[in-house]
């Protein structure tokens, strides 16, 4: 049996006294795209921040690729995070750096590549996200969708083993959102990384996910392939799906 790439075990987290995650457990296998689905405010983004060590849980264990991250010191944690790529909901591009400088930043900080190699890598990643030649643009010259794609290029430029996506399609029009979804699927196929996507967008979840976990009341209340989830008799699953159902979903679910 393959070891889990990400294993959260009985994780409990409170924010300002309010229980957000209640002994939540989660397992993500290597090369899998796991989607955490749920309405806004249930702790999806908190889960991602816990996985990458931006927050610490009140109790429970988080093991990433065999390492319990609670055992890492601050400096070790900074080093350890290099196995991750993270796509922020807000894109979080450094606003005074150009597209090239933003994408090159993690490589330049590692000081392992020469400048010419960094240029090649940045160009390769921009090509992958369908933005060739955008190196000299500044973040304020980019549309929301372009920012997301640049942020995605920055997330993959270091060839991470795990990519975390925080609401990748939120705030985008349906066409751009669809482009981002297909980009995630394409990158997944090309890079074979382990991915965790948090979203409340049912269509996005069913398009990109191999496994979907429905997060509610601080726990994963249902888990399975998109097809299994669609066919689940669990009332809370049916309620969430029926409320957020959009046209064309069944078709997407059938693909998985």
């Amino acid at each position: 049996m393959t070891a889990d790439m990400i294993h959260m075990e009985n994780v409990t987290t409170r924010l300002r006294g309010k229980l957000v995650l209640d002994e939540m457990s989660l397992r993500v296998k290597p090369s899998e795209t796991y989607v955490i689905l749920g309405p806004s405010g249930v702790g999806k983004s908190v889960t991602l921040k816990l996985i990458i060590g931006l927050m610490k849980p009140d109790s429970g264990r988080i093991v990433i690729d065999g390492t319990d991250i609670a055992t890492l010191e601050r400096r070790q944690m900074l080093e350890f995070r290099r196995i991750f790529g993270f796509l922020f909901q807000s894109s979080a591009l450094i606003n005074w750096l150009s597209v090239f400088e933003n994408i090159a930043l993690p490589l330049q900080e590692r000081r392992t590549y020469k400048e010419s190699k960094i240029r090649e890598e940045v160009a390769r990643c921009l090509e992958m996200v369908d933005l060739p030649g955008a190196e000299q643009l500044m973040p304020d010259q980019l549309s929301g969708g372009m920012k997301k794609r640049v942020a995605l290029a920055r997330a993959i430029v270091t060839n991470p083993r795990i990519i975390l996506y925080d609401e990748p399609t939120t705030g985008l029009d349906p066409i751009v959102a669809e482009t981002i979804n297909h980009l995630i699927v394409r990158l997944q196929k090309r890079l074979s990384t382990t991915s965790v996507v948090v979203t409340h967008d049912l269509h996005s979840a069913f398009t990109v996910g191999n496994t979907i976990g429905l997060l509610e009341k601080g726990k994963i209340i249902a888990e399975g392939t998109p097809r299994q989830l669609m066919q689940s008799a669990e009332p809370s699953v049916q309620r969430f799906i029926s409320v957020t159902r959009v046209s064309g979903l069944s078709g997407n679910a059938e693909q998985h």
């Binding site: 924010l15 921040k49 931006l54 927050m55 610490k56 944690m77 995070r81 993270f86 450094i94 590692r110």
Partner: protein
């Protein structure tokens, strides 16, 4: 991981919890004073923590030289005109006000020594630091605060980049160096302004002014002013960057952090000014 609440992952929910103690509405004046003291202690603690990390990051300064030089140009060189202009008129004001009194006493020749000592010991570093707090410190706090609320600081963390090393270190080194450099220029320009008023309005020949200034001014006066300038520079950058890093909320949070940054810098500065003066001349 330590107990510092500033950086993500350092403490439970640090990114989202109430980092700056927003004291509940005080029940009375005593509670109000208590709340203010707690806030001041928190600010001092956070600032010391960031200062410690900045010092620990000093070995990485060679890797940050390009950033540091850019910052020096961006913040330092562009502040030179305003500090010089301020110094020129301050020197003229000091000479004018003291000159009138000294003239009545028949001691107007002392205007040179008074202006030189006042500028080198106190007026030069304090005036430069106040201008840099308003012009540069507020800008640093707002810039880093905006990065914080738009998740850019988190983005650095997830890329494995230490925000203190990447953002704070170049700014602290820049202000330590530039405050001293601008203080030296301010001292010279301010004394020149005083000499100008002495010559034109008080009737003290510039050679007399110069001889009086040089004969009375001691090396210790100049050094104490420069030590103050370096300490003020480190203080302003550390306080303002720290306030940026603890920003929460949106635009209002950034505004609040900037205000805290400027007020805290000025308060800490005046306290440290007294301590350094006491150490040198007490």
């Amino acid at each position: 991981m330590g107990s510092d609440p500033i950086f993500p992952g350092e403490k439970k929910m640090a990114a989202n919890e109430n980092i700056r103690p927003e004291a509940a509405t005080p029940a009375g004046p005593i509670a109000g004073v208590g709340a203010a003291l707690i806030t001041a202690c928190h600010t001092a603690g956070e600032t010391l923590s960031v200062l410690g990390r900045t010092i620990a990051s000093l070995p990485y300064l060679p890797f940050r030289m390009r950033d540091t030089l850019n910052q020096m140009y961006y913040y330092g060189v562009s502040s030179q005109m305003v500090t010089s202009l301020f110094a020129l008129f301050s020197g003229m004001i000091i000479a004018f006000n003291t000159g009138i009194v000294l003239k009545d006493l028949g001691m107007q020749v002392s205007i040179g020594s008074i202006s030189a000592v006042a500028f080198c010991r106190e007026w030069g570093p304090v005036m430069t630091a106040v201008i840099l707090t308003a012009r540069v410190g507020s800008s640093m706090a707002a810039e880093i605060g905006t990065m914080k609320v738009s998740e850019e600081i988190d983005a650095l963390e997830v890329m494995g980049i230490d925000p203190v090393q990447y953002l704070v270190l170049p700014r602290v080194v820049t202000l330590a160096f530039m405050t001293a450099a601008l203080t030296m220029i301010s001292d010279l320009v301010g004394i020149f302004g005083a000499g100008l008023v002495g010559q034109l309005q008080i009737g003290v020949d510039y050679r007399v002014f110069y001889n009086d200034a040089v004969s009375y001014l001691k090396f210790k006066d100049v050094i104490s002013g420069l030590v103050k300038a370096v300490v003020f520079g480190i203080l302003i950058a550390t306080v303002c960057c720290t306030q940026g890093l603890v920003t929460k909320g949106g635009a209002r949070g950034v505004g609040k952090s900037t205000m805290y940054a400027v007020v805290s810098s000025l308060l800490f500065m005046i306290v440290i000014d007294y301590i350094i003066a006491k150490l040198f001349f007490g």
